[in-house]
Assembly symmetry: C2
């Protein structure tokens, strides 16, 4: 099936979806994006994702079209591509800069993506995180900067890790593309309060978990993770995944994570039902 | 005059020089570049710039064509564009990634640029630097990541600064697009040894200065700069520029900087003469 992509106001075949090399995203890494999941043809949590894109764009001082227009474009793209399951990425860039440094009129790309859901083994056994001292620049912005984690991929493979876990000045922040939670021994659910991207799934999990458990956004020190009863990550593409090891330290994949995972799946199904 | 650009092995008109949005430079900020100056039709310090590009690309594990082929392409582009004065940028990217994260066959863009030489006022009076706590990720690589300094431009204008000066854990590293030097009271010329890009002009200035002054690549603490006799920056596009103020602290623009500037200009003229 031929895929279609929005470049600004024009829907073009995927193969024609190109930007000029003078765009600041390409030449200076200046841009932001958001990524949402499409399930049964419905884009999930559109309001939250578009709201975060707006926040990222505003912080980078890149004007976006109105949210209603973005939502219409999303819908048109889903229909044109007959997309049932997959993802949509909205990327806003620094535009074609005259001097190669000063942002100009932004370019907006809305594109359709497939993504690999977690394997059933990962869902059951959990994933391995390798800790790495790093603080993402402008962490509240979902910028296009993934230089360090991509550069670290061979190290990750060598250590047989599935993903990185960033810490800085002794504090845990996030994984490159997901948020991090621990379940303490008294079943309190903690996630870092600062230095990380405010994840849409993170927010949803906090709300769902709060109905049954004590939850807190708070500092998680590096030592704390080794005393955790359970640990898990949250993301748009992976939902909730248990963590079974951080560096050399095994962690139990336990009942709280499984329960939250079931709650999140039910919540997602109910979101889709409401759209129908 | 129509400009021409290389996209991989094809020379195309500037207006057609586009890359697909799935390139990792665009989607994940994964890429490196180098920039060299063209004077009287000759590319300056080609060997050094191509050598550094090779180093950046190797560190990012992006295969480059052989240096002889790159040099030939540079030459062909200069001739086709009848370029006498200006700049050439070579950008190597993470390529069209299948999964949006893993680097693939890189794309190579070689493009012609104009740049604004420093104003005679800046040359005479010097520039104002505003210090900012920041450590560039992978600082030895000339990556395309300029997210933070571009984001900080309004702050810089507000403080009436010309450029940023990065420091981290109390140590000075570099400016976003240039290296930093101080001249101490006993006329020793110092530049940071680590945490910064190994600049081509920096290396050249160290060599030229070493003929007459004591020079050292060493730690420069933040306090040291306020005791400096003189300070200056070096870059491909700006040569040597005196610094007249760092934050609220005025610095004399003195004779050593002017002497080094004259030495660098003579050295550049002699490089061009040798090519003729």
């Amino acid at each position: 099936m031929a895929q279609w992509t929005y470049i600004n106001n024009e829907m073009v075949p995927e193969s024609d979806a190109k930007l000029h090399f003078r765009d600041l995203a390409f030449s200076r890494g200046y841009g932001a994006f958001d990524f949402l999941r499409v399930k049964e043809g419905y884009p999930l949590f559109v309001k939250e994702h578009l709201g975060r894109l707006m926040s990222s764009a505003q912080q980078l001082r890149l004007p976006l079209p109105p949210l209603t227009e973005l939502a219409k474009k999303l819908q048109a793209l889903i229909e044109k591509n007959e997309l049932k399951e997959g993802g949509i990425r909205l990327t806003i860039t620094g535009g074609y800069s005259q001097d190669g440094y000063t942002p100009s009129d932004p370019n907006l790309v809305i594109s359709v993506h497939t993504f690999q859901p977690p394997s059933s083994e990962q869902e059951k056994k959990g994933i391995v995180l390798i800790s790495h001292e790093y603080q993402r620049q402008l962490p509240h912005i979902k910028s296009i900067d993934y230089l360090t984690p991509i550069w670290l991929q061979p190290m990750l493979r060598e250590k047989q890790g599935d993903d990185l876990l960033y810490h800085f000045k002794g504090k845990i922040s996030e994984c490159p593309r997901s948020n991090f939670f621990v379940v303490t021994r008294n079943r309190t659910i903690l996630t870092p309060a600062d230095g990380m991207l405010p994840g849409i799934t993170r927010q949803r999990v906090l709300r769902l978990a709060g109905k049954k458990f004590t939850t807190a956004e708070s500092t998680i020190n590096r030592e704390d993770i080794f005393n955790a009863e359970e640990a898990f990550i949250t993301s748009t593409t992976r939902g909730i995944l248990p963590v079974c090891r951080i560096d050399d330290h095994p962690i139990n994949t336990g009942p709280v994570t499984l329960e939250l995972r079931a709650l999140l799946e039910a919540d997602t199904r109910s979101y889709v039902s409401e759209q129908k």
